[in-house]
């Protein structure tokens, strides 16, 4: 999938939102968020045959670029990125999945959230107060 196609898919994911009569936008877990571009990373797409040498690929990866080496319709693209960026991207994906689950639960039981400006919220925050 090209980066343009990923962006198109992301846009399409927005069509999966649902709204109740009050206008509240709910969360639809079927949205295609796994295809969302990863925040904080750039994308470079190059034909495999025109791949730069490894030092240049490494420089791009160090610059937080995800390099997609496309191989036509016959094979999936190769992706080059640093190990640290891979860990971060996987963590982001896990957080996104966790966010979706939490938001779906929140849409079912919005009363379970606490307001930080409430006495309960202030008491909760006080537990984490650090010494000045």
């Amino acid at each position: 999938m090209t980066s343009a196609a990923r962006h198109d898919a992301d846009h399409e994911a927005g069509q999966h939102q649902t709204a109740d009569p009050s206008g509240h936008v709910g969360f639809d877990p079927l949205a295609l968020d796994s295809l969302t571009p990863i925040p904080g990373f750039g994308e470079v797409e190059l034909p495999f045959e025109q791949s730069p040498a490894l030092p240049e690929l490494a420089a791009l990866a160090d610059d937080r670029q995800m390099v997609y080496l496309t191989r036509g319709e016959q094979a999936p693209a190769l992706v080059v990125m640093t190990e640290d960026n891979l860990v971060e991207a996987l963590f982001n994906a896990a957080m996104l999945a966790q966010s979706h689950a939490a938001l779906a639960a929140h849409d079912r039981h919005p009363e379970d959230a606490i307001r930080l400006d409430s006495p309960e919220g202030q008491a909760f925050l006080a537990k984490f107060k650090r010494p000045a």
């Binding site: 957080m95 930080l116 909760f124 984490f128």
Partner: protein, 102 residues
């Protein structure tokens, strides 16, 4: 203009767990909630369709001299001036395959 900050149940549980192992880190996250109330758009867009954002924070561990990262995901409801914090967690430490760490 200040936003109200709401915490989803999973965030409270995550912070309580983090406090047990990394109280300073839990404090970093708790401090960030006040920043979100002042300006929710200090974070990066995680998913535009769902108005999801991510905020990164870090601290230097005085014992190990390592930089420890934390990540907060949240949804902005501009129409109600509410920020709903959805997840909060410590970010995994980066690569362990560097020669100086073997």
């Amino acid at each position: 203009m200040t936003y109200r900050v709401d915490l989803l149940p999973a965030v409270r549980a995550a912070l309580d767990r983090l406090k047990a192992t990394d109280p300073a880190g839990a404090g970093v996250i708790a401090d960030a909630f006040a920043e979100l109330a002042d300006d929710p758009r200090i974070g990066q867009v995680l998913n535009q369709a769902h108005a999801l954002y991510v905020l990164h924070r870090s601290r230097l561990d005085p014992l190990t001299r390592r930089k420890l990262g934390y990540q907060i995901t949240y949804r902005i409801h501009d129409e109600h001036l509410v920020v709903a914090v959805v997840t909060a967690a410590a970010v995994p430490r980066p690569s362990r395959r560097r020669p100086d760490r073997r």
